[in-house]
């Protein structure tokens, strides 16, 4: 990734596994597309936003140290989810919004791939008339 360091990209993969569990089933090409979409999205944002996102990832990684005694990636899955839920509903609006932004990027990386449309049963067609009347 051009927008994130290798370390942060690896951490993003850890977060993605909790946010969209299906990302763990992606093959290398799928993971390439996953990071590619996120990279493009981050690169079109101002450098300051990318920096803030990097800082936010650092915060997510190390915030559990006090409560659970280790960085995020070392926690059990249920504790990782508890940390994420806390950030999602955090009393500080900017931290909530930051978590929403993280989710958006991960959702984009996964659901933004046309290759994953089939996983959710989404199969649009340029001419949708046959599909529209299939059950009629």
């Amino acid at each position: 990734m051009k927008s994130l360091s290798q370390e942060k990209a690896e951490f993003l993969r850890v977060l993605a596994a909790r946010i969209v569990p299906e990302t763990t089933e992606l093959d290398s090409a799928g993971m390439g597309r996953f990071f590619g979409l996120i990279d493009e999205a981050l690169l079109e944002r101002p450098a300051a936003v990318r920096r803030q996102f990097g800082i936010y990832l650092g915060l997510l990684r190390w915030a559990p140290l006090v409560r659970f005694g280790g960085p995020f990636e070392n926690l059990r899955a249920d504790r990782q989810d508890a940390v994420l839920r806390w950030f999602e509903s955090c009393p500080v609006g900017l931290l909530r919004a930051g978590f929403w932004g993280l989710k958006v990027l991960i959702f984009m990386g996964y659901y933004g791939q046309p290759e994953t449309n089939a996983v959710v049963g989404y199969a649009p067609e340029r001419d949708g008339r046959a599909g529209l009347h299939a059950g009629a």
């Binding site: 909790r18 946010i19 969209v20 569990p21 299906e22 979409l37 493009e40 999205a41 079109e44 944002r45 101002p46 989810d81 994420l84 999602e88 509903s89 609006g93 900017l94 931290l95 909530r96 919004a97 930051g98 978590f99 929403w100 932004g101 989710k103 958006v104 959702f107 984009m108 996964y110 659901y111 933004g112 046309p114 994953t116 449309n117 996983v119 959710v120 049963g121 989404y122 199969a123 649009p124 067609e125 340029r126 001419d127 949708g128 008339r129 599909g131 529209l132 009347h133 299939a134 059950g135 009629a136």
Partner: protein, 512 residues
């Protein structure tokens, strides 16, 4: 380009027109078409559009790809507090390329509420009807409506909620449901299909990929780029000074028109410039049925419910979005979220539009790089409205037979049909947390509001900027308050007035 950037004279190219229109969406496109007959008399008119003109084969329907080509910031412009995202188009045709084509005229009482001197309901309505005709607006026959829309009708009807069918502006619709990604079948009658081709046939030049940085003494400082897709711009990449001998019309939309005028230094003489932005804050809500329904085949938006228009200040509309947009509008993550996403073919969707008040501090400014920044506060009243709309939507889903509903402010991820009677308890108001809940806007209004004088507004009732007779605004930024309906027909009606004002004052403007 930064507002204070020096434009190198060596590479600078000069162009000269009588009328320069900035933006080619509902406002710019309508104004261009209305002014085009002047070209027969030798008047030179250019439309400068920052977006590209896509080749027909480039309308791929792929979600992220089309969002990047057709929306500013890929449809994810954030407000300063990051509690909302704004989706607005950049293309030959502006946002009319990416809307669903729902075509409503302003209710009389809203026009009266606007209270703009010189703007009468009858005049705006007459012009709006002209565009309904021009854009082939009609009701789809019942057999072309999909289950997603029928279920909304069924749910609202069971509850006794008032509902209307949306007139839409399509011709040869093939039910792709991809309206918001640019119709791949050329069916949607936006300005890219109707007004701009007519304007060009009349002699208007449309310059795509051309971003105007600022306007100085009727000179638009612009940059043409090559985005790597779409038809090439008629002008080579580079910097341009585009002189408007008579008139400049700003039609870049609520955010960009205000930002352009602020970058151009009009803020000092116009204290209301950029202010009173309204957004129709929106929620996308889903209910899951126990069987597959037709949702991503067929036109996505056939009905709206105005039952709560006056009492609770929101509208409910049918909608259908794509996997990524749907995913980001759900609360939560992990297995529950994935479970709901995998129910995609069984999902019914409702779009909520909150009718927000015009507040001076909700405004567009520009940062040190000249980029627009939108400050917008979701007031407690608007959050109350969003909460009420979630309750109403949940009732509609259940009345339509949904087995479970996902409410972003729900105490649990799903509310089962067995708990339909406990909706008020299961969707608590305190869970309506900005930043947690995905709140979006596709109706950006205000910033160059019409009114009486610079003390209360930016333009007069004909879109002329106070104190600058050669400068007009012709887009949704003119709205002094929100439109309370989907706004594009009203934008066209107002642009039609702007064009008339220019035509009627052409002699005076030429000599000024």
């Amino acid at each position: 380009m930064p507002p204070n950037a020096t434009v190198g004279r060596v590479s600078m190219q000069e162009r000269e027109y009588d009328i320069v229109i900035i933006g080619s969406g509902a406002g710019g496109g309508a104004a261009a078409k209305e002014l085009a007959p002047l070209c027969a008399d030798g008047v030179k008119i250019a439309v400068l559009e920052m977006g590209a003109k896509l080749k027909e084969e480039e309308y791929s329907g792929r979600e992220v790809e089309m969002s990047r080509r057709l929306y500013i910031d890929s449809g994810g412009t954030l407000t300063r507090d990051r509690a909302m995202t704004l989706a607005y188009g950049q293309a030959y045709g502006g946002s009319t390329v990416v809307y669903t084509g729902t075509s409503l005229t302003m209710p009389e009482e809203v026009v009266k509420r606007w209270n703009v001197p010189g703007l009468e309901y009858e005049d705006l309505h007459r012009r709006s009807l002209k565009y309904l005709e021009e854009n082939n607006v009609h009701l789809l026959p019942e057999d072309e409506l999909n289950d997603n829309n029928r279920l909304f009708l069924e749910g609202c009807t069971k509850l006794g909620y008032h509902i209307e069918q949306f007139p839409i502006n399509v011709k040869g619709c093939l039910s792709s449901s991809l309206c918001n990604l640019g119709c791949p079948n050329q069916a949607k009658q936006g300005t890219h299909r109707v007004q701009l081709p007519r304007a060009e046939a009349g002699g208007v030049e449309v310059i795509t990929n051309c971003r105007v940085a600022r306007i100085v003494d009727r000179v638009c400082e612009a940059v043409v780029t090559d985005p790597g897709f779409g038809e090439p711009s008629p002008w080579a990449p580079g910097e341009y000074r585009v002189k408007a001998k008579v008139v400049v019309v700003c039609a870049g939309g609520a955010v960009n028109s205000a930002a352009l005028l602020l970058r151009s230094g009009f803020g000092e003489q116009l204290p209301n410039l950029g202010r009173y932005i309204t957004l129709h804050p929106a929620l996308i809500l889903v209910g899951e049925h126990d069987r597959a329904i037709t949702n991503f085949f067929g036109h996505p938006k056939s009905y709206y419910c105005d039952e709560f228009w006056k009492s609770d200040r929101f509208l409910l509309e049918t909608c259908m979005y794509f996997p990524f947009v749907t995913a980001k509008n759900l609360i939560g993550f992990g297995a529950e979220h994935s479970d709901l996403m995998r129910a995609f073919p069984r999902l019914q969707m409702i779009l909520v539009l909150a009718l927000d008040p015009a507040i001076a501090d909700n405004r567009v400014t520009v940062d040190s790089d000249g980029k627009p920044v939108v400050d917008y506060t979701l007031t407690d009243d608007v959050l109350d409205t969003l909460h009420s709309s979630m309750l109403a939507s949940a009732r509609v889903f259940f009345a339509a037979g949904a087995k479970r509903v996902h409410a972003p402010a729900g105490a649990t991820f799903f509310i089962d049909a067995a708990d339909a009677g406990r909706i008020d308890e299961l969707i608590p108001r305190e869970n309506v947390l900005p930043g947690k809940i995905s709140i979006t806007s596709a109706h950006l209004m205000g910033g160059c509001r019409m009114g009486r004088d610079p003390g209360d507004s930016v333009t007069d009732g004909w879109g002329r900027v106070h104190g600058t007779p050669w400068l007009f605004v012709a887009d949704s930024s003119l709205f002094p308050q929100c439109s309370e309906i989907n706004p594009y027909v009203t934008v066209m009606g107002l642009a039609d007035r702007v064009a008339e004002a220019i035509r009627n004052n052409a002699g005076e403007l030429l000599s000024s």
